[in-house]
Subunit: 232 residues, 2 copies
Amino acid sequence: MTAERILYDLAGADESLRFSPHCWKTRMALAHKGLAVRTVPWRFTEKEAIAFSEQKLVPVLVDGDTTVSDSWRIACHLEDRYPDRPSLFGGAIGRGVSRFANGWADATLVPILARLLLPSIHALIHEKDKDYFRATREKRFGPLEELPPGYEAQIGLFRQALQPLRQTLERQPYLAGDQPAYADYAVFGMFMWARCTSAHALLDEGDAVYAWRERLLDAFDGLARRAPMIRS
Amino acid sequence: MTAERILYDLAGADESLRFSPHCWKTRMALAHKGLAVRTVPWRFTEKEAIAFSEQKLVPVLVDGDTTVSDSWRIACHLEDRYPDRPSLFGGAIGRGVSRFANGWADATLVPILARLLLPSIHALIHEKDKDYFRATREKRFGPLEELPPGYEAQIGLFRQALQPLRQTLERQPYLAGDQPAYADYAVFGMFMWARCTSAHALLDEGDAVYAWRERLLDAFDGLARRAPMIRS
């Protein structure tokens, strides 16, 4: 009856290090639905291992007889396939607006964090991935050795970019209201990306975003807090 | 049975000119709920006219025996008081995430648009409002005569800031999904602010945001499209 559920999950040289922001969105969504999953460590260049998904990026979820890639499509799959479990979106309007929150994290936070994190990510990935990683990332962000122009300034930019999130979290405990839902996980994935790959402190303890991140680190019996981080 | 519903609505020297982004959020929300309203033109310095609301800003909605100020609180009031009419939020999660969309518009778009619009708004408001407007706005944005540093650059910044919205609207017709809801109106209010006060073209016709704005201008029998604009 219960076919195995498998998530292909980006890993570092140390295969316990799982740092993809998009894979984290999916792991939190699975936990929200109360669905067990076996994660398979995957490296950037292992395209053949996920060729069956007909594309080249993780997360890839194999849910019994169904294969789904792309974190947003996976969230929709989970919501539609498991409607009786806790909702990720709370209906059509919530799904629509959650897509905006997801898009906001991707369009606004990824470029700022990438400039902060890419050099340290390059250092922690598997040797076989390093050339691929450098080539693809430098095409978008320029030479890794020149990133970022200055940590302090970049962290300042990041904190400023969080203003819409902060403003919301000063008024309610989660992006989705009183309880967390997919919109929260879509943004929280970014913080897991940073947490797993960098020793830099991104947030002040007095920041409403800090308190929110703490709550999500503790969610689902500390799923995210227990995740291995780089040794600094 | 049906007590009158009144909205205090920011007006220019010409009282038919209604340009407040936050009042527009409320007007669209009322239309979404199918609720009639009588708008009362209100100028920045007419604090006494709304003293009964125990604060100094519009929108102020008088809904029978209830007075509510602040566009977000008004939206929640309408949703809770008229639960059988079309939903603005679609439930608790949708409400939570819509607050984020609203906060995004306020935190991200207001500062950019203000630098573009404040000089022309100063020109179109009532004579008695001009000193108040200059004093309050210059405290935040600096001398009106020095705004913006360059229209082209400022419009470029605005278009770039719209990226999370654009990315969403390239995938679905409205921020809230297949149909518009409060998250749409919260952002659309910003475009009405610009439309009513400035002749500058903010968007390219090929932009997904442009097509979305067109749809919302046409919504509710063209409520927004019919609104008076400055003569340029």
